[in-house]
Amino acid sequence: ADKSYTLRLAETWGPNFPIFGDATKNMAEMAEKMSNGRLKIRIDSANRHKAPFGVFDMVKAGQYDMGHSASYYWKGKVPNTLYFTSMPFGMNAQEQWAWFYHGGGMELMQEVYEPHNMLSFPGGNTGNQMGGWFRKEIKTLEDLDGLKMRIPGFAGEVFAEVGVNPTNIPPGELYTALERNTIDAVEWVGPALDLRLGFQQIADYYYTGWHEPATELQFLINKDVWEDLPADLQEVLRVSMRTASYDMLTQSVHANAQAWASIRDEYPNVKVKTFPDDIFKAMVAANEKVLEAYSRDNEQGQRIIKSQQAYLDKTRAYIDISERAYLNTMAELEE
């Protein structure tokens, strides 16, 4: 019963990627301590396996026992993995966790990953992501027309619907491309991670987010490996992952607050903006259209969307009279 296990985990991030990478280290440390050393997790970052977007395949094939990544990266392989990271105009972090743990989200996620011989668990939340750095202010829908923006994935498709030209630029060329107007805007993550890339030096308009209100990373485990673990270690691992996921949100809030304070102090050029209402209206419509097309002829996808929307309606009604009411009160008091 005292057999010890070492699981090898591949993460999408580089070895020193803050916040995202801290989530795996935190999880591994907790698991080892709680199991009294019987469960060790060895983390290989992208510099070691050199396949940041191969995590899904490597865990599936058993080259790694575990993975740490984001579910929506796999939408090219398995379309219904899209829904478990964050959806435009979707739930915020607390609503989404409530959906996962109490609203049937976990069951749906396992249903999607099961055929690929893997289990997926929430792996840490960034909180609401910023809408991106723009070199010019966006006042009307026309300003978006033909705007060249680095915005990947599903949100890129929504933006494309309202006239934006989503553009692929390798991360290494992003700064130069934005600086020299090869592209007009860049979406990255939030203050803590954006600050490192230096966009605040070359773009004045920092837009608030709408497209990833609660980006949840994921832990992946090969199913054979999971079933091979004794029940107590399974529980240790489950709790470690869940705790690490929660810890990452608190760390994100902290690091973003700190980074935002320093951007505000050192870069007075940066102005925070929110898209005007008519742009949002167009994007909400575009989102529905893209989502409809995406999930057409896909019974499982439609079930997931329905589950999320129903849950959002329910929790949002409550959030409106609690969190939102409170924040509104505070805002009014400040004025």
Binding site: P15, R180, T182
Partner: protein
Amino acid sequence: MIGMIMFGVCLFMLLWGFPVAFTFGGVALIFGLIAEGPQLFAFMPFRIMSIMQNTVLMAIPLFIYMGIVLQRTRLAEQLLESMGRLFGGLPGGLAISTIVVGALLAASTGVVGASVVAMGLISLPVMLANGYDKKLACGTICASGTLGQIVPPSIILIILGDVLGLPVGDLFKAAVIPGVVLVGLYIGYILFVSWRSPGTAPAMPRDSDDSRAQEIGKALMAIIPPLALIVVVLGSIFTGIATPTESSALGAVGALVLAVAYRQFSWRMMWESSRDTVKVTAMVFAILVGATAFSMVFSYTGGDYLLEEWMLQLPGEKWGFLILTMLIILVLGFFIDFVEISFIIVPILAPIAELMGINMLWFAILIAMNLQTSFLTPPFGFSLFYLKGVSPPEVKTTDIYRGVAPFILLQIMVLIAILIFPAFFGMSSS
């Protein structure tokens, strides 16, 4: 320990002269099979895929094509010879022109394989034809082709920015003066050598019938078109019309347009250039693929953990720490590539440096300066292999090894200068 033995064996095997790429790959395969079994190599498709998706490297075939077309149409030769003539009776004119073009390429891209190969194709034949010493010619090309790593935009600086958590823009700004100083020193060195031993870098012969004014006129005529091409390439980057990768395509198509304008174009020329481009590109990428197999076996057999252990035993005092760090990076640069060093070594050093109150920007520039040297240091310096891959058979590996030595010394001098006089380079040490 397996990693270290593998280095030794690989070095020995390289000596026999089997192609570098497959020697890397073959030795890695044998060691990987012994240490971990065949399943280890299931990672290779993923690694090859990430090279396939690395579009920054797409600049390599495109710049090579530009170089080959300019070479085949003799436009490059005219450009360099005319630039050399503009220097009048000054010996070393061709080498200086090479450095200037290399610096301009460096300011437009950070892909060393692209610049070394393009420069090797364009200027090596011209320098050799004009009686340059093989060693000096090779050293000049490798060194100026490698400038791309320190002169922004640069891949080393982007990776260091990521690893150290520094804004890329700050790093780019801080690297400008060191880059310019390096270019200045290269030119100074050429002037010095060609003055001391004129035979190594002869001045361009004058066209005896022409007056100086006519000569300059002729030179300008020859320079303007290819120079216009360079302006298009660089200009498209600086004005944001294109990314560095895309600008290489503008350069390639532009070279074809020039060939048409100078009545040098033929379908045959276009096709043969494309075939040669494929051959040279394959040479560069085979090395990248072989090296990735090698570094894979190195990490997965615990070589990176061993390095980490060593690094944790560094002295805890500022100057001792800095000097030892620089020495270790320099020595490691002989064996492993800069990406591995940036990701394995730098993260261990960074918190120690921060604790000592060292200015991280300065520290990053020191590391970048040091890492670009690793492209030139024998036996595994990639620039050396790349140049060898495009040189005529009379240029031996040893010519290249000996040719880069003085340039390596110059780089170490600049490194020491940045270490001692950070203020001169616009930085502070703490």
